[in-house]
């Protein structure tokens, strides 16, 4: 049986922060990550996004609790990650990538680690620091976000065995692909709505007769 399906991953995701290249390669070669650990990381990321939205300090937070919508948060965190994984997998078959869907999923989820840290860091610091001091937090968050993008690019490069230009091309095409998928989902929802209204009208018509 493939090691990726095993319960426990044998690599610490925090290692990505100081040994990114080793970790990404060992994820591919030694299959150190597991679906289970990856899913936990993804869940942590989603939760940290929600926490950031709800518990961000008053000084930095201009949105109100009554305006909070958990579906929107899920749509921009969980849904986006899954959409990226699926789209990238679909495209890598066209662009001669070597990676399987499991590999992409595991490594993208492991790459979320700096994002999780940045969200938690932001939540704590926004409750402790004043408006003037917060500039440094913004800087650190930007650095962590860039770090995340670099990690994703690097792990895609390793998984698919690409050159760097091809990786960047692959990532850009993936983003376009995500937009297309999003558009199709939107169309589908609208069509379903139409269909629903159509049948609902028929039912009302029959009942009124």
């Amino acid at each position: 049986m493939d090691k990726s399906f095993s319960f426990k991953g044998t690599i610490n995701p925090l290692k990505l922060l100081n040994h990114p290249i080793d970790t990404v390669e060992s994820l591919k070669e030694k299959k150190n990550g597991s679906i289970f650990s990856a899913t936990i990381l993804l869940a942590l990321f989603t939760v940290s996004e929600i926490i950031l939205d709800v518990a961000k300090g008053f000084i930095q937070n201009t949105s109100r609790v009554q305006d909070f919508n958990v579906i929107m948060v899920l749509a921009r965190s969980l849904f986006m990650v899954l959409l990226f994984v699926v789209t990238n997998w679909g495209l890598c078959t066209l662009l001669d990538g070597e990676g399987r869907m499991i590999d992409i999923y595991i490594s993208v989820c492991y790459c979320l680690t700096p994002l999780i840290i940045s969200r938690i860091f932001e939540t704590i610091m926004s409750n402790v620091l004043t408006a003037d001091e917060y500039v440094f937090v913004d800087m650190i968050v930007v650095v962590l976000n860039i770090w995340f993008v670099c990690l994703v690019l690097f792990s895609l490069k390793t998984i698919h065995n690409y050159t760097l230009p091809k990786t960047i091309f692959n990532a850009l095409v993936t983003i376009v692909g995500m937009a297309i998928v999003f558009f199709i989902i939107f169309l589908f929802v609208v069509l379903m709505q139409q269909l629903y209204i159509f049948f609902a009208t028929i039912v009302t018509e029959l009942m009124m007769r």
């Binding site: 000084i59 004043t130 003037d132």
Partner: protein, 509 residues
């Protein structure tokens, strides 16, 4: 017997209660008053201004009012009104005292050489501190300076030929007198700004022209025009529109010599009001306001925030009062918006309708003490509003607050909050008092209610300082323990690991 006495007393008490409670008859206010919160949503509030009376022609002691063009209140509380009534229907000046008793009515004036002078659609009037009256006689293209007896002493003639294009007709429209005696005149359709005349009536300069606003479509059109021109298209410029700034609609001057001026509407419905200093720069910049609002687009947005496209702002008049509050009159919504010196919306009042206190086609307004006078073309009269108790309290509080006398303003802010607990500026005012008295957590609470993040952050900084100071020992103990733990781990970590390992192996064996 005792029972009867008891019921009698009860009856008397009841009657007294009913009579005293019914005594102050509440004036009916035919409009809703609201303010905007941090998020740009409307929040209901008590009325700041209530309608007092509508003065029609018969109340004022004149035969009729026809198209009132402008109204002005002098330092001596005399009301000057310009309308198109009178025998020829081309212009008349009426002077009333502060109780709206007619003092004088001028159907025609006396010219400098003693002949009769007839006004022709006069649109702007002002009075200087010496009592001279200045009138913008629009269709005669003249600005007149006259005594209180209606005798013209000076005419500000049209500026020389080199000032305007040949195609432009000079139409002086509105006027104010500066603190040094200079006259500031708006000419209808003049896009160069406000005309300044010196004391002798000589034209000095233009100043304060509003900036030109270009949309993305305009930039594209300019680009196309450039291409056409490069291909030698003659007469291209006549096909395309030209880009000119919006013209000023009205102006007023405050005690410090700052000129408040407004345009009817702007492309993005912001920055309609400017406060010009001597050089013509706008000192009412959005940056001074935006700190309190969620976005900069909200910050310099005067008038109603929820604009229906067909009913965009139509600001026709601006008035600044002695306390620094300025109001703009919007004829599209028939509403008056009052702002404090920093540009925060204080009250809006009025509305479209035909009841006492609502307006149909308002043309001008003036301030008589705390009262607001608004002339209405359809109503053919003057509508008078006065501050309510709530409004008076809030005004006093804002005046103290803007002078920096926070603690004097506190009881008034408390009163304001009793009337309206949603008042953001009252919460900020009380918060500042707490802040000055070093009650930081209370201050933070008030600033939070008012959504004032900047002041909240300031109060929080000191609150945090105090918090740590009060628990200094605790924090020091924690830090010392942490350092000790790190040292222990550094020196004995390996040994501990080995000990644990050997114990495990020992257990296995």
């Amino acid at each position: 017997m005792k029972r009867k006495l008891k019921s009698l007393i009860l009856l008397v008490v009841l009657v007294v209660m009913v009579v005293t409670m019914a005594a102050p008859a509440l004036a009916y206010v035919p409009y809703n008053t609201y303010n905007y919160n941090f998020y740009g949503e409307t929040v209901g509030s008590p009325s700041g201004y209530v309608p007092e009376k509508v003065y029609l022609a018969q109340d004022l002691g004149i035969a009729s009012i026809h198209n009132p063009n402008d109204i002005y209140v002098s330092d001596k509380d005399e009301v000057y009104m310009l309308d198109l009534g009178g025998e020829n229907g081309r212009g008349r000046l009426c002077i009333f005292d502060k109780n709206f008793k007619l003092i004088k009515e001028f159907v025609s004036l006396t010219d400098i050489d003693g002949s009769k002078y007839t006004l022709n659609n006069p649109s702007g009037i002002t009075v200087d501190k010496d009592g001279y009256i200045y009138i913008c006689d629009t269709d005669n293209a003249a600005v007149l300076k006259l005594t209180k007896d209606g005798k013209i002493v000076m005419k500000y003639e049209q500026p020389g030929e080199d000032v305007f294009d040949d195609s432009y007709t000079y139409q002086p429209y509105k006027i104010v007198i500066g603190i040094n005696g200079a006259a500031y005149v708006i000419s209808k359709g003049c896009l160069d700004g406000i005309l300044e005349f010196d004391v002798d009536g000589e034209f000095v300069r233009f100043f304060g022209a509003p900036r030109v606003q270009l949309s993305v479509a305009d930039y594209i059109e300019i680009y196309w025009r450039r291409i056409y021109r490069s291909f030698g298209g003659a007469g291209v410029d006549s096909v395309f529109s030209t880009y000119v700034p919006t013209e000023f609609e009205n102006l007023d001057i405050d005690d410090g010599g700052f000129i408040f001026t407004n345009v009817i509407a702007t492309e993005d419905s912001t920055d309609e009001v400017s406060k010009l200093n001597f050089t013509g720069a706008n000192t009412l910049s959005p940056t001074t306001k935006s700190t309190k609002k969620v976005s900069s687009s909200l910050s310099s947005n005067y008038g109603d925030l929820e604009i229906i496209p067909e009913f965009d702002n139509n600001f026709v008049d601006i008035v600044v009062d002695d306390d620094g509050f300025f109001s703009v009159l919007d004829t599209a919504l028939s509403k008056i918006f009052e702002y404090d010196a920093e540009g925060n919306l204080i009250f809006e009042y009025g509305g479209a309708g035909q009841q006492v206190g609502t307006l149909s086609s308002a043309s001008a307004m003036a301030k008589l003490g705390t009262k607001t006078l608004v002339t209405d073309r359809t109503l053919c009269g003057i509508v008078v509003y006065d501050l309510s108790d709530y409004g008076r309290t809030l005004h006093e509080a804002v005046v103290y607050y803007n002078k920096g006398l926070y603690s004097q303003a506190e009881p008034m802010w408390r009163d304001v909050l009793r009337y309206n607990s949603n008042s953001d500026i009252a919460h900020v005012g009380i918060g500042k008092v707490y802040y000055m008295n070093a009650m930081y957590s209370e201050a933070m609470n008030e600033f939070k209610l008012a959504n004032d993040r900047e002041n909240y952050s300031r109060a929080y900084e000191l609150y945090r300082k105090q918090y740590i100071k009060d628990r200094f020992t605790l924090f020091m103990i924690i830090i010392v323990i942490l350092i000790a733990l790190i040292i222990v781990w550094r020196f004995f970590g390996e040994k501990i690991k080995q000990a644990v390992k050997s114990k495990k192996e020992g257990g296995n064996a």
